[in-house]
């Protein structure tokens, strides 16, 4: 066990990937908390699928595989997707969840057409585009890791600098507008940060699973506290832990993929939080419920002992 941990740290390549995944988990956990509170968790899923055509166009234009180019493509496609979702749900009677589903599959369908077109035209076979989609952190090179780290630092810094504004907009947009905050600007800023987190995360965990990086740590953190700063810290910690364990465990064997392990680690943390969190956890809730019941039964018994007539009637 210890040898394994030491070997993780001594191999420079593994060390970089480990740090990249940990920071990515941290950043997405923090930004995910805001999307969680705004009840827009599944937007991450839409953004991830919508990134595909953007990534394909970026590749077609430049014919090289580069994480930062893909990031820009994914960002542009993600913003377009979000605009489409809000246009559909604003202009028609289709609800926002169905709108998300439509945009998600339509963008992904177009992306699939482009991807197969690239692959069949020959140049794409070595592009590594499909690796990008399923996420294999072990395939990352140093420049990819730098991009990941830069993105994560940006996410956390933005969350700290704009903490008060984001908090107000997440909890009470009406009040935020009332005191003169530029609400729609801030909402767009949050959206762009979420898109950045998703676009960076795809490479580590893949299109389908990247949504979990945003949702699961935030939902787990929510069980531990009622205060936003504490929740952000917990979400960041949970995200970082899952990212680190995903990267570490996947070094054990060539066939263990990073993404699923990361997501399962996050899910495990979620289940633990759901059961064992001190106040909102299921165990604590059940115990509280039981002690309340016992209390009530005791006081009812005392009452009926003091007042036999009433006790006789109630049964």
């Amino acid at each position: 066990m210890l040898d394994w941990l030491i070997s993780l740290w001594s191999d420079p390549n593994t060390r970089w990937i480990l740090m990249g995944c940990t920071l990515l988990g941290l950043g997405s956990g923090v930004i995910g908390s805001f999307t969680f509170l705004r009840r827009e968790s599944l937007l991450g899923d839409t953004l991830a699928h919508a990134a595909l055509p953007g990534v394909c166009i970026a590749f077609m234009l430049h014919e090289v595989k580069s994480a930062s180019l893909f990031l820009i493509g994914a960002l542009a496609a993600g913003i377009a997707a979000v605009l489409c979702v809000s246009a559909i749900s604003r202009l028609t009677r289709i609800k926002s969840d169905a709108a998300m589903g439509i945009v998600l599959t339509f963008f992904f369908g177009i992306g699939t057409v482009m991807l197969t077109h690239i692959q069949h035209s020959g140049s794409g076979s070595q592009s590594g585009l499909d690796k990008y989609l399923f996420g294999q952190a072990a395939a990352m090179v140093t420049s990819d890791v730098y991009t990941l780290m830069g993105v994560s630092v940006l996410l956390v810094a933005a969350a700290i600098l704009l903490f008060k504004e984001f908090k107000l907009v997440s909890f009470d947009p009406g009040f935020a507008r009332g005191i003169g905050l530029p609400v729609s600007l801030l909402e767009h800023a949050m959206l762009i940060l979420t898109t950045v987190a998703v676009a960076a995360g795809i490479q580590a965990v893949g299109v389908v699973l990247v949504a979990a990086l945003l949702i699961t740590p935030a939902a787990a953190a929510r069980y531990w506290t009622h205060r936003l700063p504490v929740m952000l810290a917990f979400a960041g910690l949970f995200g970082a832990l899952s990212g680190a364990s995903g990267a570490a465990i996947s070094t054990l064997g060539g066939s263990i993929p990073t993404g699923p392990v990361t997501v399962l680690a996050a899910t495990l943390l979620f289940v633990i939080s759901m059961l064992l969190a001190p106040e909102r956890g299921l165990v604590a809730k059940t115990l509280r419920h039981r002690s309340m019941k016992a209390n009530y039964a005791r006081s009812a018994a005392e009452r009926s002992a003091l007042n036999p007539a009433e006790g006789g009637n109630s049964k």
């Binding site: 289709i94 969840d97 339509f106 939902a219 066939s255 997501v263 399962l264 899910t267």
Partner: protein
């Protein structure tokens, strides 16, 4: 003949999904369909590992059970106080992760390509045939989808009224004495069955696209459920056939082209639908503004 089998498979997926999609859209559960179609992956992987073959019936049953498990878990998380979007996201990503992990750890035992899981490879459908005794009965996917579509038509035909009331007003359905939960799980069971039987032949993306896009298109065109189902199936079939033709011309993914075709039909409807379309709405607003002034 090969084109025929591929188009038939696509049409069967499109019909089954676009019928069910109407109910999902009306119950505001479009994304639960998305979740189910991803979350059946571990069921398929486990069925593969246990039976060792592509024994269709076992796979269908085992993986359908996983679809229902997904719905159950989502519901449990929701009743324990978690908001619905987060519970959908947590459950389906966790189950999909289990599936991917199972497949990559047992890659030598499971004859399942991870790329196919997402994009599907409907072009291979004609080669994967089902032999009964010693006679070749045609592609396996067509049989599985045919059985699924029959089950859907049968259940909806028998309990159309119940499904309809549950879709529009679950509270009233409960008051009428309809077992709402049972019909909910029946619907979800049908969605899982469709997802499973189309999974490896056409990929998750086509299933999700066909569940949501045709039904949403039909939703913009009519206010009557029966008409909506008919229109939805029509949109699904038109996109399946035209998507196949386009994919032939572009030399690109069939599933991707079908979904894109459906998306384009949706955009056209969004603009030009007679009552709920964007252009009609603007025209109405302008004419009412003129009457006022």
């Amino acid at each position: 003949m090969m084109d025929f089998w591929i188009i038939l498979t696509a049409v069967l997926v499109a019909s089954a999904c676009s019928i069910l999609g109407c109910f999902l859209i009306l119950r505001r559960m479009a994304l639960v369909g998305d979740a189910i179609s991803h979350a059946v992956l571990p069921g398929i992987a486990i069925a593969f590992l246990m039976s060792g073959t592509r024994d269709s019936m076992w796979m269908l049953l085992g993986a359908t059970a996983f679809g229902l498990l997904t719905v159950f878990l989502i519901q449990t998380l929701q009743t324990s106080g978690l908001q619905s979007d987060a519970s959908i996201g947590i459950v389906f990503t966790a189950l999909f992760a289990v599936g991917v992990l199972l497949i990559s750890l047992n890659a030598q035992h499971i004859d399942l390509d991870l790329d196919c899981v997402l994009f599907g490879e409907i072009a291979y459908v004609p080669w994967d045939t089902w032999t009964f005794g010693s006679t070749d009965m045609g592609p396996r996917a067509v049989w599985m989808l045919g059985i699924t579509l029959t089950v859907i038509l049968l259940l909806l035909g028998l309990f159309y009224k119940q499904f309809k009331i549950c879709a529009f007003d679950p509270a009233m359905a409960a008051a009428c004495g309809i077992p709402v939960l049972l019909f909910h799980y029946l619907l979800m069971g049908m969605v899982s069955m469709t997802a499973v039987s189309s999974f490896e032949s056409v990929g998750a993306i086509l299933v999700v696209g066909m569940l949501i896009i045709p039904a949403a298109t039909a939703y913009l065109l009519t206010n009557r459920l029966g008409v909506m189902i008919g229109l939805s199936v029509a949109v699904g079939i038109i996109s399946a056939v035209s998507g196949y033709l386009v994919s032939y011309l572009l030399d690109a993914s069939i599933a991707g082209c079908i979904v894109s075709a459906a998306g384009i039909l949706f955009i056209l409807t969004l603009l030009f639908a007679p009552q709920h379309g964007v252009i009609a709405k603007f025209a109405r607003r302008r004419s009412s503004a003129q009457t006022v002034s």
